[in-house]
Structures are given as structure tokens and as C-alpha cells.
Symmetry: D2
């Protein structure tokens, strides 16, 4: 339990940010947080010890109190607003400040913001996570970490309180790139599993047995292991990761394909299908509803 | 170590069949085997104890000596030839005979041959495997098992000598269906991983670190865990599973999509890409060469 | 110039409906029309002779005055609302009434509404059109016509005032089916042309010459002939057909693929790409913006 | 009728070359030709006037007699062999020689060979054609022409005897690039038409009427206009253009996508499907068999 005298900044208390902030509190951290939603702020205060959490009205307000500021925001657009918008972090950054973007953002944007922070003598790192809400709650997230040695070394103790030892991925932006590519591999495996389950169902096969077969065989992946039985076969669809966020990650991977000029036919298909699903179901449903979407795609629209 | 007085029949001594037959020998079984390749027959004899292995000239010859006959053949066409061709098993089958097709065959063909065997009072089961050459060698294959209780019960002790306790999948043909769908999920995960690795490479990222990231995150699948570092990043491409066999399995999955009338866009893409790869590289290269194929697809043909 | 004593009903005065209604006026028809938009109603009144156009507040009001009612509505949902919603046509239908759906609707819905009309002794036909706003204005639309001989014979003189002699396609619903399949073939040709133009541009080729080459060669299609130079190369994108309407037509074609259990990989891709484009650009931009969308798809999102 | 004293060289007497050479003979040209197939050579001699046709044993032999040499060969590999192989053209080229590659070759290879010819003071142009065997026979081919003004001016009178006035496309290689992109647009339209016809058939619609609908509507393209009724609906499949040649053209278009770093999802799909079709049906069947292939793709393999 490594506590720190100065509070840690924390911006973004959504599906992931809230349990991650709570992990930090459990480790004895004091936090100065910021989130537009009152409900989210109340939720964080609730379980916290007296004085452990304060709130700032703006990101700049967070940076006035905290040296290290963690961001867990939906996308690069939100990050840019928090950093560069009115009341944003950037104007408040001084030498010694360390901003850690733990969301899944665009590598190119991350590099741009890191350069802007550097001009003010501050450091900006990318530390996206994997593992979803469940591992956020347990403090066992997988964490990738991009950036120079010195700021990474400063960030590591904080990151360790939310997950496994971070994997150093290279220069700033590299962690966000790997995260996007990772999520593409996950999406492709989920899509294939969803299609396979639907075919097995149409054949009248036992879907629990089929899931066991996949998990005992070469078809095993994170979706077959952790999602099929609990959330797909039940129709519960509650992994806590939104369809629209996966779509964003696939777009990020698409920007890497474009940047590198590579032809990635599987990625191209996933991008189009997730966009189609978002168009049909909206961005805020659970990502696992891609399974439901496949069923709808078969049916005459009305 | 469960030995049997009557020898077991074993037809097909290829990449998988040979190590599987050796597992049976290690468990004290006597075998009467059959394979067109002299090299394969010699390879089996070599390590075997005196008298443990005999060879029959034809499948019918195998059935004359053995009650239970295991098939490990490339595809349904080979199975049909072994069963119904000249000197085939079928004419030799009597009540009490048990044929176990451990290759990856077409479910519809499997049902047809099971019915033909039943007319002669014999049983025919599908028991395809997963795990590749490595697990075949260790005797730790995953085994699916389709068919009625009685013959399945007779087959299980034999199967246990080659792998984990078989998973009962339902009526005859159901194991072959699940196997094909499983292999599709594997292929889709491999394709995505191969694309992702190529993009990461083009970005100049460290590919061993990237593989670690995938394996610590939601992108983990059997290909990322067991193939990337050893066979893809090295360009070794030596998993022991042929590109053409995966293509066949994807065609089998395609026949399920057609039979059930389902739209499986990811499967459709994989079918087309594997066919394109087979057309370019030939069917006998290793399945992992799909990674090399993606690179070639980028380049001007000459 | 074939005029009729009783006015013709006309519901839906959008991009297509307005010029089609004007064609009828030019042929001396009197119209009783209905459309929610005041601007659309004013636009129709404007050029019309005194007394030639009246408006009804509801579809039922149209059917009270007119025996034959033409619908030019965005989709089957709008048709269902006009027919079955409050103040809808259906309750007002009597023997002798003839409803002609000239929009691009779902075949299954069309059959359903035709059956409902038949129960009230009225006829319901599908007569979708092709040729876009330009041909609607000139009264030279291609018209498909589905339904029984007798009502088709009654509809033909009216249809002839808006286009070429209608092509009889078979029973009710068949014209809507052919229209959807036709639009898929158009979309696929447009997509290919847009991709080809973008590649030719990246090679630095002269795009007007390239268009001439396509039109002199086997690449010629309706998009290359009538859209590339005027609307794609100029970036004008103003064909008057909305992206969202094409998406709807592709969904209709998709429902045919599902209904017939056929695997149509090109259609599957077009569905996904148009959905992705609608998701990115919104449904109301011009369908030709699929060309712009392809360019955006290359670029890092922000 | 523009006759020339010196004979014209002509290499490649296949489906296209033979009728193109005959067009030249009809215009009073004398030819010195070369083709490995005796049957092809006999076919050319047959209808020719006395002394109008001679044969050379090698391409070099052709260049010894003729100043202008036309190539109509299957692909860049064959062109490279004819130019650079043993007995090839290159060694025989002198200032004043003009080589015109009228096949559909790889732009990059064409540029390379043009540079090699230039080193020997000779000119090398690309003049691919469109219109198929029928227009080759009638001498009404569409011809694209890439290269510098002076050699193009020399080639034009010859080209005019085989088709319409050539369209100048830009520098050498540009005509081959446009040809490949054109063929992609054709292939995409053919694929869509084939899928649509199969769906219409499954709905029980009249396919001749459906073809009329396409041709009167926005779905019209060269395949719907010239191939559906004669060769697809009849199952005749005899356009005279091989599946494997279209596959080659799609690969050429793919090399342009790779070179320009553009994402062309429709092209990617066509490449994969044509490769799958070639893998299943072989390269030498007619390109229209893509329609039959779609039907096979639905069916369980055996
Ligand atoms: N390799 C792998 O990792 C896995 C393979 N499988 C499946 O297992 C099956 C076998 O695969 P694998 O061992 O890799 O394939 P191989 O091609 O290496 O082996 C097939 C063997 O069957 C023999 N054979 C073919 N026809 C006959 C016949 N008419 N009579 C007797 N023997 C015959 C072949 O002989 P010859 O070579 O002389 O033609 C060859 O020895 C396939 O269905 C495959 O899909 C399943 C899981 C993993
Ligand atoms: N545009 C084109 O080139 C072609 C279009 N088509 C098809 O023709 C049909 C019409 O297309 P288009 O004219 O472009 O579409 P628009 O959206 O421009 O026009 C539709 C019209 O219907 C009106 N409308 C919608 N709901 C109702 C209602 N409940 N009662 C009365 N009026 C209603 C709309 O009013 P408001 O705008 O106020 O909602 C609008 O004026 C579609 O099915 C389309 O797919 C076919 C061939 C070519
Ligand atoms: N067919 C069509 O509709 C169209 C074809 N094209 C293009 O035109 C070109 C020719 O096509 P097509 O005529 O159909 O093809 P074919 O395969 O019918 O004809 C090619 C001819 O070239 C000969 N040939 C091959 N190699 C050599 C060589 N080394 N020396 C001399 N002759 C050789 C072949 O002889 P052999 O058969 O003995 O090998 C054959 O006679 C291709 O690039 C094609 O893509 C363009 C437009 C339309």
C-alpha cells in the first residue's frame, strides 16, 4: 500500500475510470478528480474515506493541485477537449507535471499532445488498458505504456495500483497503436465466434458443449473464454464495453493501415460491420451485441 | 496402460496419424495399419516393439483383423475412397466393427457413411482432434466425439490414449461440424493476428513486445499464444498443418453456412482469402504462410 | 395529352415526387396531393394551372376524392404510415380504388399491404422507378410494374405520363424486388468506379481521359456514363438521390438474400460499406458521396 | 485500306490475337507472325491471301523483317519471355523499331521494358484493348494508348485497322494501368449482376424480364447489356475471355492499390473471389463462369 502526500489527478469517471479510481483509493491514494456527471462524482465519493477525494471544476483545476494526472476518457476528441479546451490542462502544465492517457486514443493525436506538453516542460504518456470492467474493478488490468524512460518510471508505481506491471511498448503513441491493433484482433475473434455460435445453433447443436469445444481447441480466444457462456448464449450482453468504442478502436486501427499503406482485408471487413452495427443499434449498446446484429442482418427490415 | 489382445486398425499415417499411432503403441496397443506411403510405414515400424505393428495392403485387410479401425485421412474424399473404394472397409464390415474417423471431414458425408456402416451392423463415429502435431506427439489432443452412447463408450478408452477425455458433441456428424466451425474461429484469429503483426512491423514496433501485449490483453488467441513468436516472427512457418487442409475446413464451414442459410461475412472473407492463398502458394505449404501471403498480396505480381 | 375528369391522388412530394407530379400536370391531369412539407406543397402549386392542384390534409382525404392514388415515399415505413396510420388510406379504400407505390419499398411489406387493400376490394401495385431526378423531370423514367393484369392496365396510362412504357415484372412485390436488386448492381458499379477513380488519381492520371476509357470499354456502367464527370470529378455530388435511400435499397436486397438463403458476397460488402458511410456522413447527403467516404476511410480520424 | 510495303510483326495468335491479325490482313497488311501453336498459325494462314503471311521461328526473327511489332500475349510474364527470353525481341531491336504491347500487362513491367527498348533506340508502347473477341473480329475494339507523341503517331494507323481511334492515356504504362482499373470495374459489375440474377432466380422471377429491367435502369452495365441473356442465362459461358486472365487483371489492379497505398474494399473482395474461382474451376474456363462459381459456393463440397 503505497500512499502519496500530494493527491493524484483523475479525469474521467465512466465505466472504466470509476473502478480504476477506486483501486487507487484502496491503495491509499488521495485524488483530485473531475467529471461532468454529478452521479459519477457521487459514486466516487461514496465509498471513499474522509478527505480522500476532492473535485475540481476544470481539468486546469486538477493540474493546480496534482502533479500526476490520469485520463480515462472516451476518445481522442474528449482528450483534446480536456487538454486544450477552455479550462484545459495544457495551460496549467508546468515542468514536473505528468499526464497519463489511459484511454484508447489515436496514436497521432497522442504524439501531438505529448509534443505540446513537452513545450511546457511536462510529460505526456499513453497507458491504455485491457481487461474490461471486471479487471478494472479487481485492479488486475493489463497495461501498455508508451514514452520515455524517466516519466515511465514515475508513472509505474501509480499504474501498478490498477493492474499488472505495465508492458513498455516504445515511444509515446506506441501503446495506443498496440492497443488499437489488439482490439482489432479481439473484435475479429469475437465476430468469428459469434458467427460460429449462430451456425451451431441453426444446426441444433448444444451451445454450451460447443463453447467447451472451442475452449479446448484451437478456436479458443478471449471472447470464447470469457464472454460466450455468460453474455452471448444468455443474451445478457453486458460486458461493459460499448459498441461505439470498439468502432472507434477499429477506426484507429484503420488509420494505422492507411498510414502504413497496408492492405488488411479482415480489418476492412470489421470496420464496415461495426459501423453497420452502430448504425443499426446505436453506439451505446454493449459491444457483444454484434452477435444480435448478425441475427438482425438476416431478417427483412421493416 | 490399457493394452488390448486384438490389434487396433489404423489408416492414414501423415502429419497427425503417425504421432497418434505412436501414442497408441506407447500405451501397449498392437496395430494393423495401412498407408500408401512406404516412408510413412517405415517410420511407424521403426520405434515399435517387435510384433506390435503389422500392415495390411488394403483397408478391407485392416478390417479383417481389427474390430476397431481409426481413420486419420486428409478429407472426406480420402475417407470415401478408404471406405467405399476398391478394397475398401465397407464390404468387410460386420456387426461389432467400429470405425472412428478422426480426420476433419464433411458432416454430411460422415452421416452418409455412418448410415452405410449401420446397414452392415457396424458403427461409425466422428472423433476429430485439435492441437496439431505437437499435441498429437504428446498424446494430449483435444478430441470431439459424435455418435450414439454405446459405440462412443467403446471408443473412449482408445481415444483416451491419444488425448484428453473426449467431449461428446451429439449425434454422428456433430463433432465434424463443431471441428469445422472451430477451425474457422482459429483461422479468423490467425488472419487478424497476422494483419496486426504486419501493421505493427510497418510502424517499427517491437514485435515480441507486441506479441506479449496481445497475450496479456483481449487480443490473445491460440495463434498469438502458440504460433506468433515461434513460427511467424521467425518466418519458420512450420506448424505442421497444411494451408490446403485449412482451406478444406473453411469450405466445410461454408457448407454449414449454406445449409443453415446464414450470412457469415467473416467466414465468407476467410474462405476467399484462403482460396487465394492456396492458389498462389499451393495447398501443401504450412497454414501459417497466410502471413507471408498477406505480404505478397501487397506487392506487384511479375 | 390524356386528361382525366376525376383528379389523381399523389402522396409524397420529395426529390422524385415533385417532378413526377409536375409531369402529370403537364399532361393535363388534376391532382389532389398530400405532403407534410409546406414548401413542397407550395412548389407544386406554383407552376400549376388554376384549379389543377388541391391538397388534402390526410391520405384518407386524398382517397375520398381520387380513385387512383400514387405514392412516392421514402420507404416502407412511410408507406405503412400513409396507408395504415391515423388518417391513413386503408380505411378510405373502396372497390375501384387503385394505389400505386412508386417508391422503392420492401417486397414483403408491399405484398402485405396489397392483401390488406384487397380485403377492402381495392388494388395495390408496385411501380418503382429508375432514372433519378433528371429523368423524373423529363418524364422519361424507367418504370417496373408488379401486379395483376386488370389493375396494371388501369395504371399504365398514368404511368406513361411519367416515363417509358412500364416493364411488367410479375405479381405484386416483384417490381420492388427487381428494383432493389437493380439498385444493388448500380451501387456495386458506383463503388468500383469510385475506387478506380481514386487509384487513377493517385497515379496522377488524367481523370477525364480515364472516364472516357471506362465509357469506351467494358468498365462502362450508368455511374461512369452519367455521374463521374459531372458529379464525382467535380466534387459536386448532386445526383439528388440520398445515401440513406441507397442504404435502404441495399438492406432490401439483403432481405432477399436472407429470404432465399443465398450467399452474395458483393452485396454483403456493399451493405456494410453504405452503412459505414451513413454512419459517418449521415443519411441525407448525396449517394455519390460514397466517393468522398472512400477518401475519408483512408485518413486518420480525429 | 492503308497497305504498307514492309510487313508488320505480330506475336501471339490466341483468342484476341488471331482475329486482330485477321483485321490487319483485311486492311491489306502483310504480316510476319510468331506463335508456339501450330493450330493457331494454320488458322491465320487459312483465310489469308498468298504471300500475305509469313512466320518467324522466334520473336527476334520477327524483328529482323518488321519495323513495327504488335504483341497480344496473355500476361507480362509472356511479354518478358518474348522480349528478353532466348531468341527474344530485345537483342534484335534497332533505332526505328516500334513494339506495341496490346495485351493487358503490368504497368511497372511495361515501363521497365520500354526503358530497355529505349536503350537500344527503339520505342515500346502499351495499347491494351477492350471489347472482347466479338469486337476483335469486327475490328471495332476500344484501344488505349500510352507513350510519347512520336511513336504513338506512328502506331495509330496500325491500331485504327483493329478498332476505334485510340484514346491517348499519357506516358508509357498509363494505358495498362487504365486497362486494369477498367477491368476491375467490369468484374465488379459482372459479380453484382451474377449475384442479382441468382437471387432473382431463387425468387422465381422471369430472368429475361429482370435483365430488361436492369438494362432500362441504373443497374445497366456492359455485362448486363452484352452477356446476361446470351451467355449467363443460357449457361453457355462463352465470351472468350478466360477466368485466369481476369484474375491477372485484378492482381494488376491490386498492385496499383498497393503502390498508391489506397484501400479499395471492392477490389480486395473481387481479387479474393476470382482467386477462389480459379482455384475451384481452373484458370482456362470462361470468365463468366463466375456465375456458376457463386452457385457452387453455396453447395456442400464433396
Ligand atoms: N495437421 C494438423 O495439425 C491437424 C490436422 N487435422 C486433420 O487431420 C487429418 C489428417 O491431417 P494430416 O495428418 O495433417 O494430413 P496428411 O496429409 O499429412 O496425412 C494424411 C495421410 O493419409 C494418407 N492417405 C491419403 N489417402 C489415403 C488412402 N486412400 N488410404 C490410406 N491412406 C491415405 C496420406 O498418404 P499420402 O501422403 O501418401 O497421400 C497421408 O499419410 C485431416 O483431416 C486434417 O484436416 C486436424 C487437426 C490438426
Ligand atoms: N431520388 C432518386 O433519385 C430516386 C428515388 N427513388 C425512390 O423514390 C422514393 C422517394 O425518393 P425521394 O423523392 O428521393 O425521397 P425524398 O425523401 O426526397 O421524398 C420523400 C417525400 O415523402 C414525404 N413523406 C414522408 N412521409 C410522409 C407521410 N407520412 N405522408 C406524406 N408524405 C410523406 C417526405 O416529406 P418530408 O421530406 O417532409 O419528410 C418527402 O417529401 C424512395 O423510395 C426512393 O428510394 C427511386 C429512384 C430514384
Ligand atoms: N479475350 C478477351 O476477351 C480479351 C483479352 N485481353 C487481353 O489480351 C491478351 C491476350 O488474351 P487472349 O488472346 O484471350 O489470350 P490467349 O491465351 O487466348 O492467347 C495468348 C496467345 O499468346 C501465345 N503465347 C503465349 N506465350 C507466347 C510466347 N512466348 N511466344 C509467342 N506466343 C505466345 C499463346 O500461345 P499458346 O496458347 O500456345 O500458349 C496464345 O496463342 C491478354 O493480356 C488478355 O488479358 C484484352 C481484352 C479482351
Amino acid at each position: 500500500m503505497a500512499a502519496a502526500a500530494t493527491p493524484l489527478g483523475f479525469i474521467g469517471l465512466g465505466m472504466m475510470g470509476l473502478p480504476m479510481a477506486r483501486s487507487l483509493l484502496r491503495h491509499g491514494r488521495a485524488l483530485v478528480a473531475c467529471d461532468p456527471s454529478e452521479a459519477a462524482r457521487d459514486a466516487l465519493s461514496e465509498g471513499a474515506g474522509a478527505g480522500a477525494v476532492r473535485f475540481a471544476a476544470t481539468p486546469a483545476g486538477v493540474a493546480e493541485t496534482a502533479e500526476t494526472v490520469v485520463l480515462v476518457l472516451p476518445d481522442s476528441k474528449a482528450v483534446a477537449q480536456v487538454v486544450e479546451g477552455p479550462g484545459g490542462l495544457l495551460a496549467a502544465l508546468r515542468p514536473g507535471h505528468l499526464v497519463v492517457d489511459m484511454g484508447s486514443s489515436l496514436p497521432a493525436e497522442t504524439r501531438r499532445l505529448a509534443a505540446a506538453a513537452a513545450e511546457r516542460g511536462a510529460a505526456f504518456l499513453d497507458a491504455p488498458v485491457s481487461g474490461g470492467v471486471a479487471k478494472a474493478r479487481d485492479g488486475t488490468l493489463a497495461i501498455m505504456l508508451g514514452g520515455d524512460d524517466e516519466p515511465c518510471a514515475r508513472a509505474e508505481p501509480v499504474l501498478r495500483e490498477m493492474g499488472a506491471p505495465p508492458i513498455r511498448t516504445g515511444p509515446v503513441g506506441s501503446a495506443h497503436a498496440m492497443k488499437a491493433l489488439n482490439n482489432y484482433v479481439y473484435a475479429a475473434g469475437l465476430l468469428a465466434a459469434a458467427e460460429a455460435v449462430r451456425m451451431a445453433e441453426a444446426l441444433g447443436l448444444d451451445l454450451h458443449v460447443f463453447t467447451d469445444v472451442l475452449n479446448a481447441s484451437s478456436g479458443r480466444n478471449v471472447a470464447t473464454e470469457t464472454k460466450l457462456k455468460s453474455d452471448v448464449l444468455t443474451g445478457r450482453y453486458a460486458a461493459g464495453f460499448q459498441l461505439g468504442l470498439m468502432r472507434k478502436d477499429l477506426e484507429t486501427a484503420g488509420s494505422i493501415a492507411a498510414e502504413t499503406g497496408l492492405d488488411a482485408p479482415g480489418l476492412s471487413l470489421c470496420r464496415a460491420l461495426w459501423a453497420e452495427a452502430v448504425e443499426k443499434l446505436g453506439p451505446r449498446v454493449d459491444n457483444l451485441e454484434i452477435h444480435r446484429f448478425l441475427g438482425q442482418r438476416e431478417t427483412a427490415p421493416r
